[in-house]
């Protein structure tokens, strides 16, 4: 009866996919919401925002990709908080399953959701007129960066869910954290249009660095750098460092928190 972590993780991930089958609304935040954002910014706000070398639609997609993936923190946090609240977690812990499979199963299911998000966003982007203007390797690197960042966000979401325990609280805390972080950045408007203090904040914001890296790798226009800090001046290597560090951090704190919460 020797099973691998992967087998158990897949069994548990199937559970999350089943949840989506039963409650498809759960998918709105990774499907309909990004789509709405693209259309809203491309056609409603976009006309008022000036971007050189390529126009706003080319600028927008990199920002929305990272912003939406950052919001994907809420999904895993909600799932874990619900499991903890309903005690389902205790059931799995009395089964002969690999201990790490529980978190890893959630990760796999959420990653599937984030992949879907990326596909939908790129598809919508192509429809509204976004294109890449870089070599295949650079575009591939951009996609890889998105996947690593998505991984980091999910692990941080898993940690948040164990920490907070209540699905309602997750909603509140998630919004309060993710909203300012993603909006005080170069995601939707070029940084130079902000007041000087905010320019510093937005330039130092790792989200800005990630977005700048994605835009650079896709060959899309980037927000001119006004406040020179190393990461925003070197977005691609900095984004990789941030993402890898965030994966390591998220994975560590989530696993640790999980062990602490489930071993009394």
């Amino acid at each position: 009866m020797s099973k691998s972590v992967l087998t158990d993780s897949l069994i548990l991930a199937r559970r999350n996919l089943e949840h989506i089958r039963q409650v498809p609304e759960k998918l709105t935040n990774v499907t309909v919401q990004p789509l709405m954002f693209v259309l809203l910014f491309a056609y409603v706000f976009g006309g008022a925002i000036n971007v050189d070398n390529g126009g706003y639609k080319e600028y927008l997609i990199g920002g929305i990709l990272i912003q939406t993936l950052a919001f994907a923190m809420m999904g895993p946090a909600m799932s874990i908080a619900t499991d903890l609240k309903e005690g389902v977690i205790d059931r799995f812990r009395t089964l002969p399953s690999r201990r790490s499979a529980y978190l890893f199963g959630h990760y796999l299911a959420e990653m599937a959701g984030s992949l879907l998000t990326i596909v939908i966003l790129l598809g919508t982007g192509l429809i509204v007129g976004w294109r890449t203007h870089a070599g295949f390797l650079h575009v591939a690197e951009g996609l890889a960066l998105l996947l690593v960042f998505a991984t980091a966000v999910i692990w941080i979401g898993l940690w948040l869910g164990i920490l907070v325990r209540s699905p309602d609280a997750v909603m509140g805390i998630g919004f309060v954290i993710v909203f300012p972080i993603t909006f005080i950045s170069n995601a939707f408007v070029p940084i130079q249009s902000m007041p000087s203090v905010l320019q510093w904040v937005a330039s130092a914001n790792p989200i800005s660095v990630l977005i700048a890296a994605v835009r650079t790798l896709f060959g899309n226009p980037v927000s001119p750098v006004t406040k020179h800090i190393w990461p925003i001046d070197h977005p691609v290597p900095a984004a990789w460092i941030y993402s890898v560090l965030l994966v390591a951090l998220g994975w560590t704190i989530a696993s640790r928190r999980y062990r602490a919460r489930t071993m009394d």
Partner: protein, 340 residues
């Protein structure tokens, strides 16, 4: 981390080869001992009833034995395996139905069981087959494809029991399995558990109901504030509890000692009284008529508001087993909860 299965020979003469053994098991939360000094020796194929009120330590004991919680002191083996040293191997041999039904509301009953079966290492088809058998056995076949969140409390509970049986456990832990079940489902469940026991399964069940412990258990451990206050067969325990109870309610507290004295001639042991409820209670000797009690009280000049004869309840068990009489259960809570 994950141990290979080495199934020991069951019932091979070694007392540790099956069943459940606990020695001096204790669990402390902060400075409060939720459980202390629990000794168990449950032979394979028998039923142990853990009897006690909420907060008595029943769930804590179950959580330690099912590897969900670590004991602060003492040790335990389940199916011959040390729970602290080899939790993974213990999990292969146990089934658990927790007090709170731990089933997934957003899946159907069938998928819930299938997922659990797969985590036990069964193939999908195998898990589905076993799940269907259990759903049938627990009278849930009709609702197999319904989302569990539409289930009533009793249905959830039955599904939880089914979930605990997916792995064909050697030892089954049921934490208040019949709470929230209607009398018929309760009877059905009891019958099913008896079948399992006759097939060799060891069961530890917790309950707040004396009747349930009486009907199901070969042995009963009575817990109060984390302590074992009695241990024996149902018959032994009942012999200690005594017969029917007599409650006499008086108008004011000053009459309590007089009332206690008046009814002591009918009682098996010293009457106890509850100052707040103004009630004197005593186990009554067989053959005593209520009318005689009324007369005796009248002769003593006690103004009884109400006189009632009733069967002994769990509360009476605790009254006679836990407190040194003239104490209300709740009054003694604080000093009993303190660690020594």
């Amino acid at each position: 981390m994950y141990e290979q299965t080495v199934r020991p020979l069951k019932g091979a003469g070694d007392p540790l080869s099956g069943g459940v053994v606990a020695t001096g098991l204790g669990k402390r939360f902060g400075d409060l001992w939720a459980l202390r000094g629990l000794d168990l020796n449950v032979a394979p194929g028998t039923v142990l009833g853990l009897l006690g009120h909420n907060g008595a330590g029943k769930t804590t004991a179950i959580r330690i034995l099912t590897t969900l919680s670590q004991a602060t002191e003492g040790s335990a083996t389940v199916a011959g395996i040390d729970v602290a040293a080899h939790p993974g191997r213990v999990r292969e041999r146990i089934g658990v139905a927790a007090q709170q039904a731990t089933v997934d509301g957003l899946m159907t009953a069938r998928l819930n069981l299938q997922t659990i079966g797969c985590l036990h290492g069964m193939s999908k088809a195998e898990a589905r087959r076993r799940g269907d058998v259990l759903l049938e056995r627990l009278d849930l076949s009709e609702f197999a494809s319904k989302l569990v969140r539409t289930y009533s409390g009793g249905m959830r509970r039955r599904l939880d029991v089914a979930a605990s049986l997916m792995g064909q456990p050697e030892v089954l832990f049921l934490d208040e399995p019949t709470t929230g079940l209607d009398p018929r489902s309760r009877g059905d469940l009891w019958e099913m558990l008896r079948e399992l026991v006759s097939e060799g399964t060891t069961i530890i069940l917790t309950t707040q109901y004396l009747e349930e412990a009486d009907r199901m258990a070969n042995d009963i451990v009575v817990l109060d504030h984390g302590r074992t206050v009695a241990h024996g067969t149902p018959a032994e325990l009942k012999a200690r509890i005594g017969d029917d109870r007599l409650d006499v309610k008086v108008a004011n507290a000053s009459e309590l000692p007089g009332a206690a004295k008046a009814i002591s001639v009918f009682a098996e042991e010293e009457p106890m009284y509850d100052m707040d409820g103004l009630v004197v209670t005593a186990p009554i000797r067989p053959g005593v008529r209520v009318i005689d009690v009324v007369r005796a009280l009248d002769d003593a000049g006690i103004e009884a508001i109400d006189i009632a004869r009733r069967e002994a309840t769990l509360d009476d068990v605790f009254m006679s087993l836990t407190s040194n009489s003239h104490h209300q259960r709740d009054d003694s809570k604080d000093d009993q909860r303190d660690p020594i």
